[in-house]
C-alpha cells in the first residue's frame, strides 16, 4: 500500500527527491519568502481538494485510504492551513547533496545569530529569515567561497550582531580578556592575602599590656609559663 503512494507521488513529481524541495526555495530575502507563502498554501489546498474531485488512475485501485494516507492528509491540512509559518530548523530540502560541503555549512550556521530570534543560531531557528540565511550560506559555499569568505560576506551585510562569536576588536577587548583579567585579579588578591597572613605569622607577638598581665596573674599563669609552652 505504501508502495502505491510512493509511485503516485513519483508520478506527480518527476524530479528526483531532494531536488523537488530545493527548487521552491529561491532564498531571495525574507520579503519574497513571506509573500510567496500564501501561494504555497493555495497549491496545497488545491492538491488536497483535487484528490476527491479528479480521480487519478492509480487511485482508483484503492477502495479506502490507508492510515498513512489519512494521516498525511491531516498533516497537510493542519500544517499548511493552520500554521503555515511553523517551519522547522534546517530542513532536508535545503541541505546540500555533498556531505562535506553540508558539514561546512552547518559549522558556519551554528555560529550565526538569527536576527529576529532570541539568542538562537540560524541553525536552530524556525524563523523564515533564518532559513533565508541558511540557504544563502549554502549558495555561497556552492559558488566556491571559503568558510572565512562566507562568514565575512554575512558579517559585512548584517554587522557584528549576526556573529554569535563576537569579533575581536577594541569594543570587545574587555569581553575577550574578561576571563584572564578575572584570573589575574584573583591571583593577585590571593597573593596579597597570603603575604598579609605570612607577615602576621612572622611578626613577633605583641608584648602583653599591663592589664593583660594582671589578668593572667589572676588566673595563676605567669608570663614566663606562657612563652615556654
Amino acid at each position: 500500500m505504501n508502495r502505491v503512494s510512493t509511485v503516485e507521488t513519483g508520478s506527480r513529481n518527476p524530479l528526483p527527491e531532494g531536488e523537488g524541495g530545493r527548487r521552491r526555495r529561491p532564498g531571495e530575502g525574507h520579503l519574497t519568502q513571506r509573500i510567496s507563502r500564501p501561494i504555497v498554501i493555495t497549491q496545497a489546498a488545491e492538491g488536497h481538494n483535487g484528490k476527491g474531485a479528479t480521480p487519478h488512475p492509480t487511485r482508483l485501485r484503492r477502495a479506502t485510504l490507508s492510515p498513512w494516507e489519512r494521516g498525511r492528509a491531516l498533516i497537510l491540512f493542519i500544517a499548511l492551513i493552520f500554521f503555515p509559518l511553523a517551519a522547522h530548523a534546517v530542513t532536508p530540502a535545503e541541505m546540500l547533496a555533498d556531505p562535506a560541503l553540508e558539514a561546512r555549512a552547518r559549522a558556519i550556521t551554528t555560529e550565526l545569530r538569527c536576527l529576529v530570534c532570541q539568542n538562537q543560531s540560524i541553525d536552530d531557528s524556525d524563523a523564515s529569515l533564518a532559513k533565508d540565511l541558511r540557504v544563502l550560506v549554502r549558495e555561497k559555499l556552492k559558488e566556491g567561497m571559503s568558510d572565512a569568505e562566507v562568514r565575512e560576506f554575512i558579517h559585512s551585510r548584517y554587522g557584528d550582531f549576526v556573529l554569535l562569536r563576537p569579533p575581536m576588536k577594541p569594543g570587545t577587548a574587555l569581553l575577550w580578556s574578561a576571563p584572564l583579567i578575572a584570573l589575574l585579579a584573583g591571583a593577585a588578591a590571593v597573593w596579597m592575602a597570603a603575604r598579609r597572613r605570612a607577615g602576621l605569622a612572622a611578626a613577633p607577638a605583641k608584648a602583653l599590656s599591663e592589664e593583660e598581665r594582671a589578668r593572667l596573674k589572676a588566673l595563676g599563669v605567669s608570663d614566663q609559663d606562657r612563652s615556654e609552652s
Binding site: 498513512w68 517551519a87 530548523a89 545569530r113 539568542n119 562569536r165 574578561a178 584570573l183
Partner: protein, 655 residues
C-alpha cells in the same frame, strides 16, 4: 471572595514583613530580648499569609475564575489540571508571588530550625529576611498584582504558552526558586554577621547547611530546566548560554565556590572575608538574574511580560540590597581578624585555587551576559555573545578545575604533600587515560571529547578512590568498618565530585552524537548511529486543549525492532501556536531522539533523527551531585541547627 482574601492576605504579609524587619532590628540594637523574640513568630506568620495568598491565586486558576486578568491571560478551562496549578507560576505576576512565597518560607525555616545560635544573630538575620520580603511584596502589590479583576469577565481564557505546558515545567521553577531564594538565607546571615561584627567558625557552621540546601535545589532546578529544553525545543540542545540560563548558572557557580570556602572557614577559621563576600555574591547574582529576566531588558521564553516600571522597581531593589550589602562589607570586612594559617600546598590552598577558578568562570559568565547590554547602552553598538564565545573561554578554565578536584580531596589540611596526593591518584590517572583511549578507539574524534571523557573518568575514579583509600589498610572486614565509620560528608564530597565527572562525560559524549536530517519516506529505514529508524504510521490525535499529528517510528538494531517512539507536532487552538513533541527512547545511557516537522506533498515528512550516546549522564550526574549534597546535609555534624525535614515543607505550598 476567596480571591479578595488572598489579596488582603498579601497586604497583611507586607505589614508583617515590615514588622519582622523593624522590631527585631531595633531589639538587637537595644539588646532587648523581648523585641528580638518578635522575629520568629512574625516570620512564620508572614509565611502563612503569603501561602494563603498563593493558595487563593491557585484556587482562582483551578476553578478558571476568568474575572482575574492573570487567569484570563494564562489559563483555559480545558487546560489539564496539573497545568492549571503550574500555570500559576507560568507568568510574571504568579512567578513573583512564588518568589515571595519561597522568600517567606526561607524566613520561616530560619525561625523554626535555627535554634543553636545567638538571639542577636537570628534576630538580625530574620530582620534582613523581613526587609527582603517587604521589598518584593511591595513590588508585587504596586506593579504586578496577580489579583487584578476585570469586568465583565470573558467566557474563556487565552491559555498558557504551549511550551510551558509540560510536566518538566511543573517542577522546574519551584526548584529553581528554592535555590535562587535559598541563598537569601545565607545573604541575610552574612548581613547580620557584618552588622553584629561577630564572624567565626560557628557562623560558618550555621550557613553551611543552608548553602547546601540552596545549592541542591538549584542544581536540580537547572538540571530539570536543561532536560526540559532538551526534549521540548525539538533539536536536542540542552544548554544555549541564553542570558536567562546564565542567570541561573551565575548563582550556582558562586554557590559552589561558597560551599567550598565555607568548609575552609568552618574547619580552619580561614577565608572569612572571602566567605562573607561569596555569601553576599550568591544572592546578589540571584537578584541580578531576576532583574535580567523580569525587567524586560532581555526577552526570552522566561520573560513573560516586559514593563519598564517593573524593570525600574527591580533595579531599585537590586541596587538597594546589593549596594547596601557591599557597602556594609566594605565598612566591616577590614576589621575581621585573619584566620588560621596554611601552606600553599594544602587542602585550604587547593580550595583557594578552586575558588579562584570558579570565580573566574562566574565573572566570565556575568561579563558575557551583561556585555552586550552595556556596550549597546554606552556606544550603541550591537553585538551577540553566544555559545561559541562561552565554550571557547570557559572550557580552558573548567577542564583544569576538573583536573584539580580529586587532588584537592587528597591533600590534608594545613600542610599537604602534593607528590603523595598524586601517587594516591595513580589509579585514577591510569583509568582515565585508558578510558580516553577506549573512547577514542570506539567513537573517534573530536579530540576535545576524548580528552574531556578521560578527565571525566579520572574525576569519577579519583572522587571515589578517596573513600576507598581512607577505608583501606587492614583486613577486608576492617575496611568495611572503616568505610562505615567515615562521616557522611566525606561520602557527600566524593559522590558529588563523581557526579560532576558523570556530567562531564555526558557533555564530552555530545561530540560523538549522530544527527540525520531527512525527508522520511514511509516504511523506509534510515541509519542513525548504530540504529535504523523508520516511520510506521502517521495519524492525528486529539488532546485536551490541543490537536496533534503523531508518527509512530520503529527503532531497529540489526533488523529487529527494539523500540517505538512517537514524535508529534502539536497545535494549541487557543493561542494558535504549534510545538513539537520529541520522540525519545533511552537505550543504555544514550538516547534516540526524533522530531518531526513539515510534511510534503510527495508523502515524505521532514524529520530530525539523533543518536546521542551517554547523553543521560548529563542529568544523572546532576542528580548524583545533588545526592552527594544531600548526604553532606544529613551529616550529623552539620545537622545541628537544621533539621533534615527542611526540604519537605518547602514543596507544600505548590499543592
Amino acid at each position: 471572595m476567596i480571591v479578595e482574601t488572598g489579596h488582603y492576605a498579601l497586604v497583611l504579609a507586607l505589614a508583617l514583613a515590615l514588622a519582622q524587619f523593624a522590631i527585631p532590628f531595633v531589639g538587637a540594637r537595644l539588646n532587648d530580648a523581648a523585641l528580638m523574640r518578635v522575629a520568629r513568630p512574625t516570620a512564620i506568620t508572614q509565611f502563612l499569609f503569603v501561602a494563603l495568598s498563593y493558595g487563593a491565586l491557585t484556587y482562582a486558576h483551578v476553578v478558571s475564575d476568568f474575572s482575574l486578568v492573570n487567569v484570563i491571560e494564562n489559563s483555559h478551562s480545558l487546560k489539564p489540571f496539573i497545568y492549571k496549578i503550574s500555570g500559576v507560576w507560568g507568568n510574571h505576576e504568579g512567578s513573583m508571588l512564588l518568589w515571595a512565597l519561597v522568600l517567606s518560607l526561607c524566613g520561616a525555616l530560619i525561625a523554626i530550625f535555627s535554634t543553636s545560635m545567638s538571639d542577636r544573630l537570628r534576630a538580625d538575620a530574620l530582620a534582613m529576611q523581613g526587609l527582603l520580603g517587604a521589598a518584593f511584596l511591595l513590588f508585587i502589590l504596586l506593579t504586578s498584582n496577580p489579583f487584578a479583576r476585570v469586568a465583565p469577565a470573558p467566557w474563556e481564557g487565552r491559555d498558557l504558552n504551549p511550551i510551558l505546558q509540560d510536566p518538566g515545567l511543573a517542577i522546574h521553577p519551584p526548584l529553581l526558586y528554592l535555590g535562587y531564594v535559598g541563598f537569601s538565607i545565607v545573604f541575610s546571615f552574612a548581613a547580620a554577621a557584618l552588622i553584629g561584627g561577630r564572624i567565626d567558625a560557628a557562623w560558618a557552621r550555621v550557613i553551611r547547611p543552608w548553602t547546601l540546601f540552596a545549592w541542591i535545589a538549584l542544581t536540580l532546578g537547572i538540571a530539570m530546566g536543561s532536560y526540559w529544553a532538551y526534549y521540548t525545543l525539538g533539536w536536542g540542545g540542552f544548554w544555549f548560554w541564553d542570558p536567562v540560563e546564565n542567570a541561573s548558572l551565575m548563582p550556582w557557580i558562586a554557590g559552589t565556590a561558597l560551599l567550598h570556602s565555607a568548609a575552609v572557614m568552618e574547619k580552619r577559621e580561614a577565608l572569612k572575608v572571602w566567605t562573607i563576600f561569596l555569601s553576599i555574591l550568591a544572592f546578589s547574582l540571584s537578584l541580578l538574574g531576576t532583574f535580567l529576566v523580569r525587567s524586560g531588558v532581555l526577552t526570552s521564553v522566561h520573560a513573560f511580560a516586559s514593563d519598564p516600571d517593573r524593570g525600574v522597581f527591580i533595579l531599585a531593589i537590586l541596587v538597594f540590597f546589593i549596594g547596601g550589602a557591599l557597602a556594609l562589607f566594605a565598612l566591616r570586612a577590614g576589621a575581621l581578624p585573619v584566620g588560621g594559617l596554611f601552606a600553599p600546598i594544602s587542602r585550604e590552598g587547593a580550595l583557594v585555587l578552586n575558588n579562584l577558578l570558579l570565580s573566574a568562570c562566574c565573572a566570565t559568565v556575568v561579563v558575557g551576559t551583561l556585555y552586550p547590554l552595556a556596550l549597546e547602552a554606552l556606544t550603541g553598538e550591537k553585538i551577540s555573545v553566544g555559545a561559541p564565545f562561552f565554550n571557547t573561554v570557559l572550557i580552558p578554565i573548567a577542564l583544569p578545575l576538573a583536573l584539580l578536584m580529586p587532588i584537592g580531596q587528597m591533600l590534608s589540611w594545613k600542610r599537604g604533600d602534593l607528590l603523595a596526593a598524586l601517587q594516591r591518584l595513580r589509579a585514577a590517572f591510569v583509568v582515565g587515560v585508558l578510558g580516553a583511549a577506549a573512547f577514542g578507539a570506539w567513537y573517534g574524534t573530536p579530540f576535545l571529547s576524548i580528552a574531556a571523557a578521560g578527565i571525566a573518568i579520572y574525576l569519577v575514579v579519583g572522587g571515589l578512590s578517596d573513600l576507598v583509600l581512607r577505608a583501606r589498610g587492614g583486613s577486608g572486614r576492617g575496611s568495611f568498618k572503616r568505610l562505615a565509620g567515615l562521616p557522611l560528608s566525606a561520602f557527600g564530597t566524593s559522590i558529588a565530585h563523581a557526579g560532576m565527572g558523570l556530567t562531564l562525560l555526558g557533555l564530552a559524549a555530545t561530540g560523538w552524537g549522530v544527527e540525520s536530517i531527512v525527508a522520511m519516506k514511509p516504511l523506509s529505514f534510515y541509519d542513525v548511529g548504530p540504529y535504523q529508524i523508520g516511520i510506521e504510521s502517521v495519524s492525528p490525535r486529539q488532546g485536551p486543549n490541543y490537536s496533534e499529528v503523531f508518527a509512530v517510528m520503529a527503532v531497529r538494531k540489526n533488523g529487529a525492532t527494539i523500540a517505538t517512539i512517537e514524535p508529534a507536532k502539536r497545535f494549541y487552538q487557543a493561542r494558535r501556536m504549534s510545538r513539537s513533541e520529541a520522540g525519545i527512547v533511552t537505550l543504555g545511557l544514550g538516547q534516540v531522539y526524533a522530531a518531526i516537522g513539515e510534511s510534503h506533498e510527495d508523502g515524505t515528512i521532514d524529520a530530525r533523527l539523533y543518536w546521542k550516546p551517554l547523553v543521560t549522564l548529563i542529568w544523572i550526574g546532576a542528580l548524583v551531585m545533588a545526592f552527594g549534597g544531600a548526604l553532606s546535609l544529613a551529616d550529623r555534624r552539620l545537622r545541628i541547627g537544621v533539621a533534615r525535614r527542611a526540604a519537605a515543607p518547602a514543596l507544600e505550598p505548590a499543592e
